[in-house]
Each structure stands twice: as structure tokens, then as C-alpha cells.
Subunit: 356 residues, 2 copies
Amino acid sequence: MSQFLRPALSALDPYVPGEQPQDKSYIKLNTNENPYPPAPGVLDAITREAVSQLKLYSDPTIAPLKAAIAQQYGLQPENVFVTNGSDETLGFSFLAYADAEHPVTIPDISYGFYKVFAQLFQVAPTVIPLREDFSLPVEKFCGVDSMVVFANPNAPTAIALPLSEVEKIVASNPDHVVLVDEAYVDFGGESAVSLIDRYPNLLVVRTFSKSRSLAGARIGYAMAQPALIDDLERVRNSFHPYNINRLSMLAGVEAMKDTAYFEDCCQKIIKTRRHTAEALKDMGFTLTESATNFLFAAPNVISGKEYYEKLKDRGVLVRYFGTQRLSPYVRITIGTEEEMAVLLEKTREILKEANP
Amino acid sequence: MSQFLRPALSALDPYVPGEQPQDKSYIKLNTNENPYPPAPGVLDAITREAVSQLKLYSDPTIAPLKAAIAQQYGLQPENVFVTNGSDETLGFSFLAYADAEHPVTIPDISYGFYKVFAQLFQVAPTVIPLREDFSLPVEKFCGVDSMVVFANPNAPTAIALPLSEVEKIVASNPDHVVLVDEAYVDFGGESAVSLIDRYPNLLVVRTFSKSRSLAGARIGYAMAQPALIDDLERVRNSFHPYNINRLSMLAGVEAMKDTAYFEDCCQKIIKTRRHTAEALKDMGFTLTESATNFLFAAPNVISGKEYYEKLKDRGVLVRYFGTQRLSPYVRITIGTEEEMAVLLEKTREILKEANP
């Protein structure tokens, strides 16, 4: 840190991405990536000619990608906002709607970046604890007189809120933006997109990183009524209007168009999740009901930390958070059937060692 | 705009990118893109296998690209910061060092985004007018007791400041960051990179969009002492740590490595610039001395606006700004020799029409 950094930022506690150790080859179940490659159309779209055209700027209106997203969800391009990963959508939303005088209400256990954005933009967050069973206490997010941000399904708990409960939160805060982060919704949640035409304060945030197999292309998006999209465009055009590069634009359009491939990948992951969850329950794990592409699982006979470390020793990476309430748990991304078979085999070994 | 947008942002005056009309095919000399494709290694690096790997997140440490940049400039990776276009570097720098209590000093005529960032982050800018001949009044940027941001060479004036003058500004503001935006330096400016080891307050900002033929890949970077880079990393990791996508990472490494191709492209552009500038002078244009990949040129017998419009009618796009002091001028990107021959031919037609 230099002497020049603004004092307000010197206490920043940045987000810590999942580790990417390079010492050997791991089965990577720690960052909620999709185990299946992007849709075949993505591979066909990125030709040598497309790469050669990188000499030219990308389209700052992001028109082709907005059109593809709008068509998929029965919306208009004016309802769609696109960014370099959904973190950027979240960041622009904080910048648009929250500051020292305009606070934000968030759950205590959720995507860690909400607290980081609050710090970065000097927003006082009202942090609402999840219930003992990790469910969201909906009534505490109703009528709160501030912007509300939550993930549905939530992470790392994997739990989904029914749409009727989401609607209660949106309806009870008409004077503030309610941002519903649906990064994982395609794996079993109920989307709030159907509520957009009724609620001018609803902002639904999505990503291509999970269900569209494009984590490395960095594409996030939001859907809302045109006035909210216009707000976010004002921020984007005041930060970097060329935020989507040419190749990600091509990739995103193709990934969004191929509904059959998308649904097939999601169904495979849901099926593998069911098998894996059942097997872990049989081994004595405590699990929440997952509506995501990961499991939130506590081995019980050993700590979350020990389980994480022993899996890592055996070449399987999962995510361990280490805060007090989460310490019995790890977050396990759903990989292929083969990868999860290895996870289960290593887990059996670890439990046997612990309980010989 | 919605009722929810923060009042501070309702007056935002976003940056307006160069137009990209779709009605017909134009010779595009309006956004300072490179007319030559990216280095051959870029085309070879983006394979089907690389595209398939988009299912995985990119490296949040940006290690390969930092290493390639550091090696090119005789620095260490700790001296290098990388972002999604240099606009993001500029934005993060404003966020790190400027706010309502920490102002910034900028030239009145320069890259339009400096004023936009000041608005976005509620920074009061001290705006220093350029001299009558569009040169930078160096003495007015010395000892100003605020962060200083300027472009060298400047845009759209195309004029470069000698390194000794840049050093005066850096040396006279030891308690504040001096950001030198070197987007165009490879076309004839003197870089301040050589000053980095002596000045802890110097931040040199660059882009792959111009001299590296990668405008559509969105890669910007900064070079400075490690403490400044650490500040910017804190902001990046609090905004989006995966800001560089996988394919741009590959493209950037290859573009940075191929010094011979890079120098060849720059030399071709410099040669074409000389021919074009001489021909325009012969036709009575007023031009500044360009150290960039564009010309700042006034036709004199007609207004900048009329010249821009008549060129557009004839299928050649240049950039017209329209503010009072710039109204006699247009900014003309240097394309290929063939493209500039068309520009000159159309210009002759236009002047003949005006002065039959």
C-alpha cells in the first residue's frame, strides 16, 4: 500500500478467489465452474478471422448479445444490461444506488463480494443473519427502507427461496432497488424474471460463468425495466463503454442461442448432484437442499477444514471458508460423474482413516 | 433514468464512443484503431482447445501477461497492473487516489474520459487550459497539491511532451500520484517508464488497443513502483479479480512477445502518417506535429464539421468533437497507405467543391 491511497480504502478487505494451485493436477471442485465445455457454436464462432478482427474495438452498444439474451427470456434489448462478468454488474449497481447516505441490506452469509463492494464504495451495510438452518429470514428483508441485495439460490448454502418469498421482498420495498443475484438459478431455482414487468425496482442479475460454461469469457448480465437498465448504462458509459471484448461477445451469443445444449448440461449436473448428495448423506454428511451446481456439506466426524485439507492432499480441491458458522462445512462444485466418483472414493478413504 | 439512481449520478455526462454506423461500409479512421491485424502468434494461440477451456475461470493473478509485459520493459511483475482496457486502469486509479476531498488536475483538452471519471466519483477537477498552440503549459501542472492526470502524447491534439518536461511535473508533485497516460507513446513519444525507479508517485498507463492491434481484446496496463501497483490491486480485487478473460490473456502475451512485428507495424504507421500529413499541408490544412497514430487537422477553407460530414458522405469516417476550440479540427486515424490515399482523394474532391 502506498502513502497516496485514499484513507477510506486502506482498510479494504478484498475478495479472495478460490485457489488455483499449480503444483500438480487437481480435480477442481472449488470455484463452481461447469465441467462441460461451452456449446459447440461457441467453438465454431471463434475463427482465425474473428481473432484477426481484434484490431477493431468491440461494439460498445453490445447489441448482438443483448438481443440474444432478450430473445431467450421474452424481453426486449432495453431490458438487458451486459458486463465483464456479473461482478461488474454488481459493482455498477452498488455505484448507481448505494453510498454513505444510501445503505444496503444483505444477508450475513452469501456471496462474499457484497460486503467488499460496500467497503469499496463506503456504503454502510445492514447485515441480516441467516436462520440457524441457513434459510433466509424473509420478513427481515421486507420494508427495510434501503437497497436490498441477496442471491437466490444463495451461496455457499445452496438453498433456494420460492418465488413467492422473493416477491414479498420486492413488493415490500417499492422505493428501493431489490437486486436478486441469480448466478445459480438454472440448476433448480425459480427465477424472478417473470416479475420484471410488474416491479420497477427489481433487478435480476445473471452470469454466463456457471450454466453457460463460460467462466473464462467473463460475461454477466442484468434484466430489469428499461429505467433501471438506463441507470446502469449511464454508469457503464462513464466507466468503460467497451467492457465486452469481441470474442466474448461472439461466445455469449452462441452460448445463449443453444437452448438444447444448455438444458442438457444443466440436467446432467442436477442428476450428478443427486447421486453425489445421496452418497454423502449415506456417509453421515449433513447437507442443505441444493438448487445450485454445488453442495454445501459437513462431514461431521471431522471438521470442514480437515476434510478440505485431506481432499487436497488426495488431489481434489473443494472450497473451505473458515468463518465460524461455516467451519463445519465445505462447498463442493458438481463436476462430471467421473470426477464425483473420485471425490466419493477419496471421501470414503478419509472417513475410514478418521474412524478406523 | 429511474427514481432510484443516486442524485450524485443524475447529472452524469457519459463518454461518447466514436460512431459505428451500420448503414454501409466505411473506411474507419475515427477510433484510432490499428489498421494491421494482431501479431501472428495471437492468431495461433486462440485454438479450439483454448476456446473449449472457457468453461474455466481465467487466472485472477494475471501472471502470464504481467510477466510478458514486465520482461518487455525491463521491470518485475510487481511493477505491472493489468485491466479490461486502459479505461478500467484509469477508473481504478481515480477510485484509489481521488474523491471529494482529494481533487485531480487535468488539461481542458485531452482524453474526454478524465472528466467523466471525475463526475462519476464526485471528484472536483482543476481543469488547466492548453496554450493557444495546444501545447501543455507544464508550469501549471507543477506543485499543484493534487493528483495529476494527463496524456502524453495528448489526444486529440497528437502533441508529445519531451520526457524532461514530464519529469518536471512528476518531480514537483511528490505527495501526489502523477498519472501519465501513454496510450499513443509507441508512435513517437518518449515514455516515462525509465523514471519509474526514481519516482514512487509516477503511474504510467498503457493500452494494447493501439500499437498492439488488440482494441477488441480490451487490455490496458499500468507500470509503477510496487506500492502503487499494490493499491490498484486492492481496488481490482475489490471490484472484479477475474477482469481479464482467458482469450485476451493469451492474445496479450503473444502480442507483447512479438517485438519485431510490433515495431514493423508502428514504423509503417509513422511512415504513412508522414505522407498523409505532408499531403494535407500541401492542401492548406493546419496540423499539429503528431507523435501518435492520428492527425489533428483543420481544413481551414471549410469548418471541421463540414469536412467531417462530407467525408462521411463519401464513405470515410473521421472524428469530429464540436466543442468550440476544437471545431476547426478533425481527428484522423492513420490507416493503411491505401486507406489514406482514399482519404486524400476524397479531401481533394471536397476542397475543389468548396473552392471551385
